[in-house]
């Protein structure tokens, strides 16, 4: 099954600044894809398009072989977990417990079931003791763990993570890596940490600073310094 089928997609911001140019990519089920590129090369924009949160201004995209339409909205939300780069943008409820309950509640899961559902992830990420705290009072690493636990509530088929290891300590990083190692769905992660890519991915997508697709390949692409230099990774 094709999870993502993007053909010549482009995205322009309202002020006409290009976010991504002429981008074509297919992602199959269970692939572990890493988007690699320098700052401002369009990684976050692309991930938002893959999550069905924004529509490309031109080109075609299918997610789970479905178009981005209102009818498919609920299907995407149930099956795609999306972690924002900045947890402050992602966490907006009064307490950590409310944050965790947000998605199950929105999808009409009963209060009792939702509480049982969140408990597992809360234990795994060690955030149960933070339940009563407002998210904005947490440290950077704690926010990231809460955000990740929120994303994983419904065990999504497609997991999209925007720089999951930025601004976190070694222990949290290790825990996230362990988790991603165990995760068995399709995964798309953006990063500019080569070391991280080696540990979690089997497909590398290089983006050029011109916001275009530079090269798609396996993990061996990381050894090709010519491409990495053009992508301004090294």
């Amino acid at each position: 099954m094709k999870i993502i089928e993007a053909k010549n997609i482009e995205y322009a911001y309202p002020d006409k600044t290009m976010g991504i140019k002429n981008f074509t990519l297919n992602i199959e089920e269970y692939e572990r894809v890493v988007l690699l590129g320098s700052n401002g090369c369009g990684k976050s924009t692309l991930l938002k398009i893959f999550a069905g949160l924004i529509k490309p201004t031109s080109g075609n995209i299918k997610i789970f072989e479905k178009d981005i339409t209102k009818d498919n909205y609920l299907y995407f939300r149930e099956n795609i977990g999306f972690l924002f780069q900045n947890p402050d943008d992602f966490l907006f409820n009064p307490t950590v417990e409310d944050e965790l309950l947000y998605t199950p509640m929105q999808l009409g899961i009963s209060n009792k079931e939702a509480k049982a559902l969140i408990s597992k992830n809360a234990n795994y990420f060690g955030i149960k003791k933070l339940y009563e705290k407002p998210p904005f009072r947490l440290s950077g690493g704690e926010k990231k763990r809460v955000a990740l636990a929120c994303v994983l509530q419904l065990n999504p088929k497609l997991l999209i993570l925007d720089e999951p290891t930025s601004n976190i300590d070694g222990k949290t990083r290790k825990r996230i890596l362990e988790f991603l190692d165990q995760y068995r769905g399709t995964m798309i992660v953006s990063t500019h940490e080569i070391d991280f890519v080696r540990k979690i991915s089997n497909k590398v997508v290089l983006l050029s600073p011109k916001k275009e697709l530079l090269k798609v390949g396996g993990i061996e692409l990381l050894e090709d310094t010519k491409y990495l230099e053009v992508a301004e990774i090294i």
Partner: protein, 248 residues
């Protein structure tokens, strides 16, 4: 430094409003009263405060306020922090009335608004906001009003947190003592930047909501188990206060 009083005030204000609606973790006996009943009771007290200019009645309500502060066992620090600036703010607005009407009128007006706001602050200090929203829905308040209140609550923190971050960032990169004219100009830029950043962050939060299945669906909130006795005691108390207010 010239800019310090203005920016220090803005910084304190942003920190103050950031947590303005956040419920304190209080184990208040008034929490035994069902939120729906509590909401009606507190609204009656607000109405009693704002529908009179009689000093006797207002002092009677003030006495009731003191009783409620003691009974609710709220921490006095957060309470006074939230109420503290209110008299000054309201009196400033009422200042023209000192010349148009009288000083008594301005003082009594300030007093009664402070009383009304105090009751609401006690209520929000001891009640989780989602229960307040659910109570409003229970009373069939139009959804658009409840949603507006809900968004105000969610975004209050966001707006003031953004202001605080801009102020801190500016402070960390300022090295010299500028003229008042320059400070005034920069203040305008700060305001513009503040609105743009809040708008952008608001958009990101909206996307985050959508990514997590936002469908405008209200939270199914479970109220505290309905115990008849605390509710009867509370409403009897409110009834006595109302009768006392009418007699005075």
């Amino acid at each position: 430094m010239k800019y310090e009083p203005v920016e220090a005030l803005l910084k304190s204000a942003s920190q103050y409003f950031e947590v303005f609606f956040i419920q304190e973790n209080v184990k208040s006996p008034i929490r035994l009263v069902d939120t729906r009943v509590g909401l009606i009771g507190f609204l009656i007290l607000v109405l009693l405060s704002i529908t009179t200019f009689s000093p006797n009645k207002l002092f009677f309500i003030f006495f009731i306020l003191l009783l409620l502060i003691i009974a609710s066992q709220i921490p006095l620090g957060p309470y006074f922090r939230r109420v503290g600036l209110m008299p000054l703010f309201i009196f400033t607005i009422m200042l023209p009335q000192v010349f148009i009407s009288s000083l008594d009128y301005a003082i009594l007006f300030t007093f009664r608004v402070c009383l009304a706001v105090s009751f609401l602050i006690i209520f929000t200090l001891i009640t989780p906001f989602k229960e307040i929203l659910s109570s409003l829905r229970f009373y069939k308040i139009p959804e658009i009003l409840v949603l507006t209140l809900s968004f105000t609550y969610s975004y209050t923190y966001l707006v003031f947190n953004e202001l605080y971050r801009i102020l801190i960032a500016r402070e960390s990169r300022r090295f010299n003592n500028k003229s008042y004219r320059k400070i005034w100009n920069e203040g305008g830029e700060l305001l513009g930047m503040f609105f743009i950043k809040v708008y952008e962050r608001g958009e990101n939060i909206h996307l985050a909501r959508i990514s997590r299945g936002y469908s405008n669906m209200p939270y199914p909130v479970k109220f505290v188990k309905f115990n008849l006795m605390p509710n009867i005691i509370f409403m009897t108390f409110i009834a006595f206060v109302t009768v006392g207010w009418m007699i005075l």
